[in-house]
């Protein structure tokens, strides 16, 4: 199935209003999906210091705000992430803390607050098994937290190495390898060679190996975990690849190599990039647009080349801060968050 040949468009399903300041990030509950008979659930976090939980009614199909998580964070909530079980939501805030919320069905309760960062926490991410979290901050550090019994969290590692503000942390989708990207223009890969060993920086992707020339804002992996997309203030998306089989066999660390750069498409900073399960990359940028890219599938000897599938101009009235594909298989919903205070739900559909 060649997506380029289909006449696809991004249709706005619904605009979710409620936040009173810019919306920084959205996160799909990984367990929710129409295919499973469970209503999709989306979390959004904002400069209004709150997190909103949105749910789609299985009857009317419309989205409503199910609950507002407030009066816990005292500053902007910059990022939110669901645990793989979908039972917990982690929230990273400019107040220097990370909140852990438990879903009790009809309401959420903050069961733990992770402290330690010297200033704003920018991002939080769960590993694939849900056994640990990572956070990062303007204090240039990346922390790894172990999930203990009884709603307790232990700081397992404080990773230093970035020379500036760390913008995002993201665990690999299948392995306990951690990635971070920074205002220092680099992406760092953190890994513990022994299972009980200490995490170390095993690779730095910087300008000297075809890396970005300005702040790196976001990291996302494809479904197989052998490719990664990063986006930057330098107005480019970069695709990286690795030998995942070698990595998984436990032989040794398989380095990430630059595969290609997508330049010339974006007019302003790209704040978010997300790779869908069926290989579509979405980007959200400061030019108010959402763009979708696909591999040209030419099986070129020179490696992959990505083409613009479509561009949604004026997706929002202001910067697009986050784009996230829904986790369902056939379901091609995309959520976006913006400085205009809105969350939008999009459907990738064939033009009539």
């Amino acid at each position: 199935m060649d997506l380029m040949e289909k006449n696809l468009e991004l249709v706005e399903i619904q605009k979710l209003e409620g936040h009173t300041d810019r919306v920084w990030s959205v996160a799909w509950n990984p367990v929710s999906s129409h295919a499973d008979g469970v209503s999709p659930i989306l979390a959004s976090c904002s400069g209004d210091n709150t997190v909103r939980i949105w749910e789609q009614s299985s009857l009317s199909r419309s989205w409503t705000c199910k609950t507002v998580l407030e009066e816990t964070h005292t500053r902007t909530v910059r990022s939110c992430a669901w645990s793989p079980s979908g039972q917990l939501l982690a929230t990273a805030s400019f107040d220097g803390t990370t909140g852990i919320w438990k879903n009790y069905g009809s309401e959420f309760e903050c069961i733990s607050t992770l402290e330690g960062h010297e200033n704003e926490v920018k991002s939080v991410s769960w590993n694939a098994s849900g056994s640990c979290l990572a956070t990062c901050s303007r204090d240039k550090s990346v922390w790894i937290w172990e999930v203990l019994e009884g709603n307790e969290y232990d700081c397992a590692a404080v990773l230093t190495g970035h020379t500036q503000d760390v913008k995002m942390v993201q665990w690999h989708p299948t392995m306990d390898v951690l990635f971070s990207c920074s205002y220092d223009n680099t992406i760092k890969v953190w890994w513990s060679e022994d299972d009980d060993g200490e995490y170390q920086c095993v690779q730095t992707l910087g300008e000297s190996n075809n890396g970005h020339s300005s702040t790196v804002w976001s990291i996302s992996f494809n479904a197989a975990g052998d490719k990664m997309v990063t986006c930057s203030d330098d107005l480019t998306l970069k695709i990286w690849g690795t030998d995942i089989a070698k990595m998984q066999s436990g032989e040794e660390y398989a380095p990430w190599i630059h595969l290609c750069t997508l330049s010339g498409y974006h007019d302003r900073t790209i704040y978010s990039a997300h790779w869908s399960r069926d290989d579509i990359i979405a980007s959200g940028a400061g030019d108010n647009a959402i763009r979708l890219f696909v591999d040209s599938k030419h099986d070129s000897v020179d490696g992959p080349s990505y083409n613009l599938l479509l561009k949604k101009n004026k997706a929002h009235e202001n910067d697009v801060n986050s784009v996230q594909w829904s986790p369902g298989e056939g379901n091609r919903l995309l959520a976006s968050a913006s400085d205009d205070g809105m969350v939008k739900i999009w459907q990738l559909a064939t033009k009539p």
Partner: protein, 149 residues
């Protein structure tokens, strides 16, 4: 504020006449951009950025069609340690008075400051600008700079 002044004897420049649009456009970006020249210097509150030639008419580039405004400012000294405050103040002033559709870039004039690249990158990072503006002490300083005589 530091007790020791970075620039003890600032040069004061004569005022230039300001351009005003004759049509009564409700989205008059020139009146918005004119207003930033009245911002006070953080060290010499009796002087405006225009008085010190930090901002001039040439500092402002407006592209109405593209909804874009670019401001280039010149700190009073190459080693002045307050250009980020001045840049933040310009940003806040413009965001307050311009229509939401405008994208604003505020930059140090090329060659005019030792840490030009660093300052420009900070001013271009809206996340760090946002976080800075959640600091009440900084906001109080910026508000003082924006007070009109």
């Amino acid at each position: 504020m530091d007790s020791v002044l970075t620039n003890k004897n600032p040069i004061i420049y004569p005022k230039r006449t300001r351009r005003y649009r004759t049509d009564q456009s409700s989205t008059d970006e020139f009146s918005s951009t004119n207003r930033i020249r009245d911002i006070k210097d953080p060290e010499h509150p009796e002087l405006s950025l225009e008085d010190l030639n930090v901002l001039t008419e040439e500092s402002v580039e407006v592209d109405d069609h593209k909804s874009y405004v670019r401001i280039t400012f010149t700190p009073t000294l190459p080693h002045c340690h307050l250009p980020t405050h001045i840049g933040l103040c310009i940003l806040v002033k413009l965001v307050q008075s311009l229509p939401a559709r405008f994208k604003v870039d505020v930059r140090v004039a090329p060659g005019s400051h030792d840490k030009e690249t660093t300052v420009n990158k900070q001013l271009g990072d809206k996340e760090r600008v946002t976080a800075a503006l959640e600091n009440p002490e900084l906001v109080a300083l910026l508000n003082k700079m924006m007070q009109v005589c």
